[in-house]
């Protein structure tokens, strides 16, 4: 009764890290060329990279790891959605007038990157918490 919840092999974590590094490189290259900090450039690299990091199998992928990942992802989506909504309201739509303006929002890449950063951080934190005070 082996269940495979995560589609990517363990080695794709390294691919994810490479994509993130490429995103950071591209972000600074854009700044060097055009003099602007394009957060979308960074978010594209982070969102694609973290998809491979978070949704790949761990060294030993068992039911506890799968449960923790689900818990981390569920929490991250709620928190990221709340942060996104708050940011949109406070910084992008503060003077929004119904009927005249269109609602502005951060990009899908930025939302995805934020969600996956929170999910990955939360997963490793939960894993660490469960194995605190370990004894051999």
């Amino acid at each position: 009764m082996k269940q495979h919840s995560f589609p990517y092999s363990h080695w794709t974590k390294f691919l994810g890290l490479l994509i993130m590094a490429a995103g950071v490189f591209s972000f600074f290259q854009q700044h060097h060329k055009k003099g602007v900090f394009d957060l979308n450039e960074l978010a594209i690299g982070f969102s694609w990279g973290l998809v491979f990091v978070f949704f790949s199998k761990e060294k030993t992928d068992d039911e506890m790891i799968q449960g923790l990942k689900f818990k981390a992802l569920a929490r991250a989506i709620i928190v990221a959605f709340f942060i996104t909504h708050l940011y949109n309201y406070l910084f992008l739509n503060w003077r929004f007038e119904r009927g005249q303006d269109t609602i502005l929002s951060i990009s899908a890449y930025q939302f995805m990157a934020l969600t996956l950063i929170l999910a990955t951080g939360s997963f490793y934190y939960l894993k660490h918490q469960l194995t605190l005070n370990e004894e051999q």
Partner: protein, 68 residues
Amino acid sequence: MKNLIKVERARHNMTQAELAEKVKVARQTIIAIEGGKFVPSTVLAFKIAKVLNCTMDLLFELEDKDWE
């Protein structure tokens, strides 16, 4: 849920890593189960009981808070 995995494991002179390898989970999972922080699935609980050569009801025991 209370469990006696640590006791039975010690009785069999087995390390957490050895038990983890036999039931095909991470060592962290055995640590979490022994510490009562993670309740295993029925399949995993049966596997652990089989490796430790004892019955499920000897290994696992419900606590009052499990009924709440």
